[in-house]
Amino acid sequence: MNKLILLPKLSLMGIRKNGTTYFPYIMAGSFSVFVFFVFSSIVSNDIMRTLPRSNYALVLMQIGLILLGLILLPFIVYTNSFLIRRRKKELGLYSILGLDKKHMAVMMFWETLIIFSIVMAFGIVFGLAFSKLLFLLLLNLIGLPVDASFGFSPDAFWATFLYFLAAYGINLVMNIIRVFRTTPNDLLKGAKKGDREPKHLWITAVSGFILLGIGYSIAITAKLDSEIFLNFLLAVSLVVIGTHQFFRAGLTALLKMLKRNSRIYYRKTNFVTISGMLHRMGKSASSLANICIFSTMTIITLLCTLSVWRGTDSMLDFQFPFDASINFSTAKFRGTAELDDKLQELAASANVRITDRIEYTWQKLHTTKKGNVFTVQDPESTYAEREILRLITLDDFNAMEKRNEVLEDNEVFILSTGADFGYSQIILGSRTFRIKRELDSVVFTRKARENTYGDEYYIVVSDAGVMDMLRDEFRSTSENDRIFTILLNLEGQENDKDSYVKSVREWCMTQPGLTNVVNGVGGRRDTLSTNGSLLFIGIFFSIIFAMCLILIMYYKQITEGYDDRDNFDIMQKVGMSDAEVRGTIRKQILMVFYSPLVIALLHTIGGFNMIARLLNTLSLYDTGLIIRCGLVVAGLFTLLYGFSYSITSRTYYRIVKQMKTDVAAEHRLA
């Protein structure tokens, strides 16, 4: 046969013959292309640039695409390296049959090309078929009109094509390097030798524990501040490395300890399990660590996604408790009479009704906080020490809260929008006030104890005289006038409410002394659009992580199935019954397979505080909700894990059981 035909044919055969390993590889590759193509289609689509309020979504989708690129490449390379290792024997055979290395390189080229073509074809076809649907899903999630047209984007196609060309190009190079590095003898032999146990086991173990410990403590003590994202990345890297070392050294140490204890080791159910696991410690540990890390990533992504979804209402309420907030500087403000008329008039024409109206006057003080002492803001003070105080008079407070509280001259109520103030006295400049009560909730703003970053203090003072006196003491270069604030809640269509607030803003701009008008309706839409994109990204990333997890699990089972097959074959000859083989397998799997799940759940618990703080940056402060979501996700994930485990372990059983048919086949030949 012509060599030109033979080599591609051999490659095709190679793929077909290794169906159990190549089929999932191709499926995962197709799905990766699909997701990448969908994301880049959305990012490169003009509609995303023209639709109102889609800019947050666009930025998030771009970030998502970049992350996707970062995650998929190592994943594709990792799975490929696994596949090529499995085929050592086959390649060795080819080389003995007279295929030289150049030919094998050509064969590898054909193989990679075939896989690349299949993966691209499936991914793009499904991408084209579903990208419109998924785009509509995204628009729906971000609360935009869903009648937008969405066509094929050549840019997206080329981006996908080039990215995966590069990924599979790397695979090809790695495969060729492997072909050239190994001699036929190596290729034929296959690995028999056990994994060397890690050198300096205790150092690895201890450093693993230290890394995990630092990572955990960063996560547990994380506060909502400007360093949260940096800390998050740091904690994640520490835990990833720590997990690898932990599995490597921890598992080896545990097994060696078990082996040393002859009463445990020389029991028939443990004997085979322990020695088998020690034998392939290195490979086992790294795939277990990877399974654990991908499990953690899946759980955390799902947890965040679910929390954002279920917590949207509470986020919106925290960020924008009112549909509109109108702020005037009292120095030039002409009074409410004309404004009130205008508000009603515009409401009528915009077809909305004002359901709530709250107004109050407040004094802003720029201070530096040390404990319960507030002084005039020192330009040298750190950002964390600077605090903004808002002073409100008791009259305004009582009117808004519909209460009849009483305050002495030297008494105040205090409300922190973040962590509780927690002192019985407050020292403002030269004056000391007794805190009559620390307020928990008020109608005019929202409090969250976890909100330690953008927190402010509202201080209710007995009367305007106290307010004046404090203003004079804390006088700063700007904003010394009191602000008059009107807060509105509306009833009506969302679009009408939005245009109403806009028209109010337009009118107010013509008035002297306007500070600003906050459009809560529009702001919520921005938040919804952000959340929607986060949900969209979260759903896809959860699936991608779960896919990586299942694939690694599956490949691990296959590798170990083939490794164990010969061993169980021998053991049966030496007198191990079928039931004993089965029991041993089950035990081995139980011990090994659920450890990543347990560690992943521990990681989630350890990282919970940090996850909650990250969600705080989105103004989601409902810790109870996050915990509930965490429990649901942990439960669901455990089910998913068990399910994918049972599927993949069936493959393992099938491979191990093949030994019997092999034995029978040998007899037939004899």
């Binding site: 028999k192 053991m571 030496v574």
Partner: protein, 267 residues
């Protein structure tokens, strides 16, 4: 020798009785039937050392697999100490094999996951024996087989001869009624092979019954009796009597020549 003969006389029943064993492999469609064994009959007495010879495809391995309870005959009976092997329920077969039979394979079949010592312990661990008993049994055995120094090594760290001696130790440690050896010298160099054969002879002198399948004349010449199998039947057998290994070697060579030339004539 005398002792053994006396024991033989006292026994009315042979240790292993193979009577008219047949094995037919049918193709799945029921068309061509392959007769691997065509009614093999022989018996092995306690303390005997029997070699079974035959060309490739003569049915040696099929026979050994049947004796090893790995395979079942389609006809005839195999009795070990009077017990019909085919009456052993499937779930007890493994335990039966472990308690009564010892195996030595051509390719050693040692597990790379275990040290040599643990490989030898394997059947005892499976039988649930305590560690001190395992150690007690191993000690004299390891000394006899000359593997004391490699007990803590892994199979891939030692030579072929050492591996086969370790496998022999694994076969002997359960005190089996019979050791079944399948081409035990097949993967060994001549020096390692002759050392192993000397060991087998020594073990046999101490009373261990051995049944060995081989097509090495040298290996067979160490046995007390050689059975020749051809076309699924016992074709011929040679008793050592008082012959030396060299005389035995010559007798086997003659028998093989007769067998092969006779075969040609018949065809």
């Amino acid at each position: 020798m005398k002792e053994r003969e006396e024991r033989k006389v006292n026994r009315t029943m042979a240790l292993l009785e193979v009577s008219n064993v047949k094995k037919v492999y049918g193709t799945r469609l029921g068309g061509n039937k392959v007769h691997a064994l065509n009614g093999v009959t022989f018996s092995v007495e306690q303390g005997e050392y029997v070699a079974i010879m035959g060309e490739s495809g003569a049915g040696k391995t099929t026979l050994l697999n049947i004796l090893a309870t790995i395979d079942r005959p389609t006809g005839g009976r195999v009795l070990l100490e009077g017990r019909d092997l085919s009456t052993i329920p499937q779930r007890e077969v493994a335990a039966f094999r472990r308690d009564n039979l010892g195996f030595v394979f051509q390719d050693f079949n040692l597990l790379d996951t275990f040290t040599i010592q643990d490989n030898i312990f394997l059947p005892l661990v499976l039988a649930g024996k305590p560690l001190d008993e395992m150690k007690r049994r191993l000690e004299p055995l390891a000394r006899k087989l000359g593997i004391e120094d490699i007990l803590q090594k892994y199979p891939y760290e030692v030579s072929g001869g050492e591996r086969q001696r370790a496998a022999t130790a694994r076969a002997l440690i359960t005190n089996p009624k019979i050791v079944l050896a399948d081409e035990p010298t097949g993967a060994l160099d001549s020096k390692a092979a002759s050392r192993l054969l000397k060991l087998f002879a020594e073990i046999n002198r101490e009373g261990q019954t051995i049944l060995m399948v081989t097509h090495s004349i040298n290996a067979a010449s160490h046995a007390g009796r050689v059975l020749f199998i051809k076309d699924g039947c016992v074709f011929h057998q040679i008793y050592r009597g008082n012959a030396s290994n060299e005389e035995m070697y010559a007798m086997i060579t003659d028998a093989l020549t007769v067998m092969q030339t006779g075969g040609v004539k018949n065809e």
